[in-house]
Symmetry: C2
Subunit: 525 residues, 2 copies
């Protein structure tokens, strides 16, 4: 296992014939070797056909084997050792601690899904026993379970080169659902992708699974990505990235003779509401916490707090003064790619052409082409409500404070927000009445509502929702983080009047796998 600059198609290492893709060290501007040749339609076809063949076998392997495979992927990733972390640091500009933490999250996520597979809640087993004596008509025995939808195309995200990339949340949940995965690597971290790809490839072989369970392709989103989504064997798509990118994939998926679901996680301002008493009690502490969340990882998180909403007044002034002070002292950080850096600069520049006023900017430097200054702007609710450009996400450490004259304006802001991943309330006990008024409107705008914390740092657990109304995601019925993510890649199948021997194990009469069941609509205990 060594770096080759190749795609991984099943168990093969394949050099792409297209334009070479080179990672760039965003801190130094250095072009990194090796180059990765972009794949073409024939590579997409080969990977998808292998995935289709593998699907028939993989989906029917016992659940304990599927769980063991997920654990093996986690162990193989850990087995890559420091080489993975070092390469990811070079390719992403992210610091070691962050990447080691992200590796832990990635492997924890794979092991969580191993547990989820075995627990069997995802099967949603339902049994409605036969009622042969029922009048006027008897009822047949009816049983339901869920199965995987088929091969899934996963697009690696730039901002989580491990946890939302080759073996990240989309891949883990698709594999858990019994779906082979074809990954399009993000061009920002090709070698990190290849290394993780080796780990998955090795686990596939070690577990005796068909090779098509996993492939890794390189290429541009417009060419190879579109071809992948259009391939007839692909049955669902997982994507985390820009709104334009997500919309393009949605369009491609709908243009197929057989349209397929796209789970695109795209864009979110993650509004933070500072309620009056909380602001009065702790304006400065809130400002410190806010700047910490805003500047973490150069603000390159889907859940970065890009909007702060509060009632205008001296307490908000205190908050802004302290936030401005903290932010002015915040060191510039290298962003993930030149493209993200450019988009950030343009986004902040665009704010300067609006009525919003600049509150503070972070420090300049270090000497890097892609270092960003954090930025805090402020505007009034009435300006925010009339200027749609202020509703667009600026991906990075930039946030906008919206000053409301009264509660009515604050509620009006919520009504005019697009769909969000998160909404945060900072509240003291005596803010409870206002918080109560905000809950219902916020539920309709966000996938997650949190109190007295910060939206960054998404817990990978059972209750997590990392999703939300459009354009936060393309499909508000889903989450891309946490065990619920498996449901994106499942479909129900009903079995009527089938002999026990023909039924899958999870539906057999004596429940040999001990899976949870709903019998006649009631939970079996």
């Amino acid at each position: 296992m060594f770096i080759q600059g190749n795609m991984l198609i099943g168990q093969q290492s394949v050099k792409g014939n297209g334009r070479l893709i080179h990672a760039v060290n965003p801190a130094t501007g250095e072009r990194l070797e090796p180059g990765y040749g972009a794949g073409d339609a024939s590579d997409v076809d080969r990977a998808c056909q292998l995935a289709w063949e593998a699907f028939h076998i993989y989906r029917r392997r016992p659940q304990r084997e599927r769980a063991a495979f997920l654990r093996a992927v986690a162990s193989e990733i850990e087995g890559l050792g420091d080489a993975l972390i070092e390469r990811a640091m070079q390719e992403s500009g992210l610091p070691r601690g962050r990447l080691e933490g992200e590796r832990g999250r990635t492997c924890g996520q794979l092991r969580l899904f191993a547990d989820v597979v075995k627990a069997g809640e995802w099967l949603d087993v339902r049994v409605d026993p036969a009622l042969p004596e029922r009048t006027p008509l008897p009822r047949s025995d009816l049983r339901q379970r869920h199965i995987g939808v088929g091969p899934v195309a996963v697009f690696g995200a730039s901002n989580f080169p491990l946890a939302f990339s080759v073996a990240g949340g989309d891949t883990a949940s698709a594999l858990a659902a019994g779906c082979p995965v074809v990954v399009k690597a993000h061009s920002a971290h090709p070698c990190t992708s290849e290394l993780v790809g080796f780990a998955v490839q090795k686990a596939v072989q070690a577990c005796g699974l068909p090779e098509g369970v996993f492939s890794l392709l390189f290429g541009s989103g417009r060419d190879l990505g579109q071809a992948l989504v259009a391939h007839p064997r692909i049955q669902a798509v997982g994507f985390t990235g820009s709104r334009a990118g997500g919309l393009a994939l949605m369009k491609a998926a709908q243009a197929r003779p057989q349209p397929i679901p796209v789970y695109a996680e795209m864009s979110s301002l993650n509004p933070v509401f500072l309620l009056p008493q909380a602001l009065a009690d702790s304006a400065e502490a809130l400002a410190d916490g806010f700047v910490g969340s805003l500047t973490m990882g150069a603000g390159q998180f889907c859940t970065n707090p890009g909007l702060v909403v509060a009632l205008a007044g001296p307490d908000l002034e205190r908050f802004m003064a302290q936030a401005g002070k903290m932010l002015s002292g915040s060191a510039a950080q290298t962003m993930l790619t030149p493209g993200i850096h450019d988009a950030y600069q343009q986004g902040v520049q665009q704010w300067t052409s609006t009525s919003a006023r600049e509150v503070a900017r972070g420090e300049m430097g270090p000497e890097s082409d892609n270092a960003c200054q954090a930025a805090l702007f402020a505007t009034t609710a009435s300006e925010f409500l009339t200027d749609e450009s202020l509703h667009e996400e600026v991906f990075g450490s930039a946030s906008l404070v919206v000053e409301c004259q009264d509660e009515a304006e604050l509620l009006d802001i919520i009504d005019h927000l697009e769909g969000q991943l998160t909404a945060t309330l900072h509240m003291a006990d005596s803010d409870a009445a206002l918080a109560g008024k905000l809950m219902a409107p916020l539920e309709l705008k966000a996938g997650r509502i949190l109190a007295n914390g910060w939206p960054t740092g998404v817990e990978v657990c059972h209750a997590m929702v990392h999703g939300g109304p459009f354009p936060a995601t393309s499909d508000t019925r889903s989450t891309s983080v946490g065990s619920g993510a498996i449901h994106r890649f499942l479909r129900p199948v009903c079995y009527q009047n089938l002999a026990d021997a023909l039924l899958p194990d999870e539906l057999k009469q004596d429940n040999p796998l001990g899976v949870p069941r709903l019998v006649d609509g009631k939970r079996e205990v």
Copy 2:
């Protein structure tokens, strides 16, 4: 409450200004009064705005009130008495017994969803308690529940003027999910629609719900239907009908600035596989059962057995001889609308221009413009595999027998089928080995697999799946019949670190509603 020829927008009765829609008695060709004026964009807007306003209140009413409302709708429909049945007979040409049964199913469905709402499985409550001592980082308290997506547009189906129309399965499941409904009535049964609409309207008032919980509009699919799907307040669509109609709605839903899910149930051949020993044992009995299923209701069911697949040979000849005999003696039946009748005639006519051979036709007459002759054709597997026109659904009592030379050809047929609602196996004990080989490929093609029965007669229960891969439905992750249908109209919301008082009742710490919960991924008992 009397027939007015009006739309129902909230609690108002509104005359549409557009072209008059008249039902036609398909048995007599008689144009039925009154005419229903088609609504326009302003009617759509009014109904959708009312639905949006109602959504905020309705979704937050206690679940027992939502359940009581569903029961009240059922009682009000029963309270319409024989007037409803008589009008539905006139408008649909369906016989009294069928419509009385369908009314029972409609009301039973509403009451099933009332039970489902109260049982609370649909909430998918998940609780991951705080772990304040966890290292390196503590975990916040995280809780998840599901809420309704928002107002739902429902398109009444022609073939179930009660059970899949104004207060049918789509409406019942959307209301159960907490979503107001705006129905576009099917133009084939406007007065039946208005009567049922009155019943829902009355239940809304009696239960003290906001009027916008339900509206009923008349108009063409191309105009009013498209405007309804495009309306920004509509958040999901339920449709049962033709493939062309479903595809048009999918396109409209994706073209919105905010795309929304469409649940279209469109087209299915419902293949029936007669395995060798079953055919040898009971060719004649199978033929009798088959013709009964095929001709029931003039074959106007989504699950009508439009394809029979078996190994060629004397047993299949016996089956065809008996089926031909039964079918030749089957009385012509009036179809639902002139449009459906024309499409049926064209579909059967089209078969005569293929290599398929005619096995039998049903009787002519009665004297009705819209009476159809049942039709049975046969072809070889190799012809079927090469002629895509034979894969298109002919809606009505027409079926095609496909003769296979061997098991390999039979499996090849399955591989080449489009997505289906159902697949049926007729098998004797000694067919088990072959049946076992068919199970896996059939799971990938159909939402429901049944043995030794007929696909018509869809049970409304918890384990039912009335769905399937495209083009059977637009969204294979769902069912439109049975309690699982509620999931189409729900989305998850996560609550992090919120005080108990701010949490919805179903998430409060002491579980006051007694709903089922997953705590740290484990079922609470």
